[in-house]
């Protein structure tokens, strides 16, 4: 048995990864932004459509990834296939978002926004989602992801507005907690519509609040 050294994380090795984005993939997220009206500045919650970047592990044998050696794969043909399907590939070398740690028997690959602590030989991981989303917005604003198509936001809004969840809550709104959930969901639908309307006027400047 080998003694585990302190600079090796207590985790199993995992595969390297890359981020990809499809123009139909969005998430609606809220952010606290400061709004100044006259001399007063207040913090308000604002909703934004944020590109939903997807992580894909480079695992040989999965989705057309060729094996180079062992668990090391060549995703070249997979990336080509993804690009044909309209995905945008974000090269980890170019955008430098992957951190690699040594672990027993290999390497552990995580996004750079992941904070890792080891306490009592247990690994505690905490992803800074705000920073990650900010990065994805910056990719959008620097035109790396291309111009967003509001049609997909409208589809998402429409889907939520006509969702079964909303219908069920309408029938249960005599219960105070269900009424609160219903109001929250209706508020989200309204915020989504407002966002699309504001985007049509402001364009990508709408994300200035997000990056404050």
């Amino acid at each position: 048995m080998t003694q585990q050294t302190t600079n090796v994380l207590p985790a199993r090795p995992n595969h390297p990864f890359y981020y990809k984005w499809h123009p139909t993939n969005w998430q609606f997220v809220y952010r606290d932004v400061e709004q100044t009206t006259g001399k007063k500045t207040a913090t308000v919650k604002k909703g934004f459509f944020v590109p939903h970047l997807r992580m894909e592990r480079v695992m040989p044998g999965v989705n057309g990834i060729h094996q180079i050696s062992g668990e090391l794969g060549n995703p070249g043909s997979r990336i080509g296939q993804l690009q044909q399907q309209g995905w945008i590939y974000l090269d980890p070398q170019k955008y430098d978002y992957m951190h690699v740690y040594p672990v027993r028997g290999g390497r552990y690959h995580v996004p750079k926004w992941m904070q890792i602590k080891v306490v009592a030989n247990r690994m505690i991981e905490n992803m800074d989602l705000n920073a990650f989303q900010l990065w994805s917005i910056n990719l959008l604003r620097s035109n790396i992801l291309g111009n967003p198509e509001p049609h997909f936001w409208q589809l998402a809004t429409h889907e939520l507005e006509r969702s079964r969840e909303l219908e069920i809550l309408i029938k249960q709104q005599h219960l105070p907690e269900k009424k609160a959930q219903l109001d929250e969901l209706r508020g989200k639908v309204k915020d989504m519509k407002d966002f699309v309307a504001r985007y049509n006027k402001q364009g990508l400047d709408i994300y200035e609040d997000f990056t404050q």
């Binding site: 499809h22 609606f28 997807r54 992580m55 999965v62 989705n63 057309g64 060729h66 399907q85 889907e159």
Partner: protein
Amino acid sequence: MPITQYNLSVPTEDLRMTKMISQEIRLLLTDSTNLRNTPFVDFIGSINGMGSDTIRVRKAGLDGFDAFSAFTGATEDSAVNATSLTDGFVDVVCKRNSLAYEITDLASMTGLNQGDIDPFRIAESIANSYEALFANITGAAVAGFTTTKGSTGADLTIAVFLSAIQHLEKADSGKGAPGPYVALLHPKQWADLQDNILAQTTGILQFVAASYEAISAKGSHYKGNFMGVEIYTSSYITDDATDHAGALFAAGALGFATGMPSPVGANEAMEMGEVSIEMDRDSVKAITSVVGHAYLGMSIIDDFRGVTLISAI
């Protein structure tokens, strides 16, 4: 002075032992239930004798893909334009997977009885590990569907589950992916869904829990049927540090290819299912090596037939 267990066993362990090992070896928890023998994952073929480690699945729009269009010619004898055939392909690449153990003769011969750890029990174990490999590869493959349902950092709900079903029913511009559907979820996602099912005040959505017979037939990770969807859990579902990426998909969404090596020159080789197991001797060290090889690959064959379900880790 009375004869006691303590006196007989301490300090020399001559008449009694301080501990005896159990006859039976209890197995540690494993997660090897997978969809290999279900209609939800297609066997594409074997790479043996195919001339490549990759099988290209050919796709063509036939049998109703192209509709008859209204005749637009000027007169009844005007020529009709030829329709171009829609085609595509997906590659399924097989990868070498290996698992090897070494055991000394002394460790093997001191085993208590048949079934104790010896080269043959290890060979059987390697063959069973193939099922875990299949589950692992499936868990990674399903994260790749283009369409996602669910919100980052939020639990999986019935609404998301229903939205995924409805998406499949109107997939590819309303053509719809034919059922039956299956959901492959991380246990945490399944727990979220269970909570949400229990929280429903209406009894319309019935969950049919897996019966003993169903679990016997489909494996321990089969959970039941909800809204016509078979539900399985898998610890191999991947995550992106924020969300688990399970999936809901129809038959034809995924396909796998295999390869079976025929080892030449091995002292002893066995074909155990899809795994080739060989044993080797290092006689000067009195060590037997038991090595298993399996060649397997899986790909999304039809992206329209599946939805990735994301929910908080």
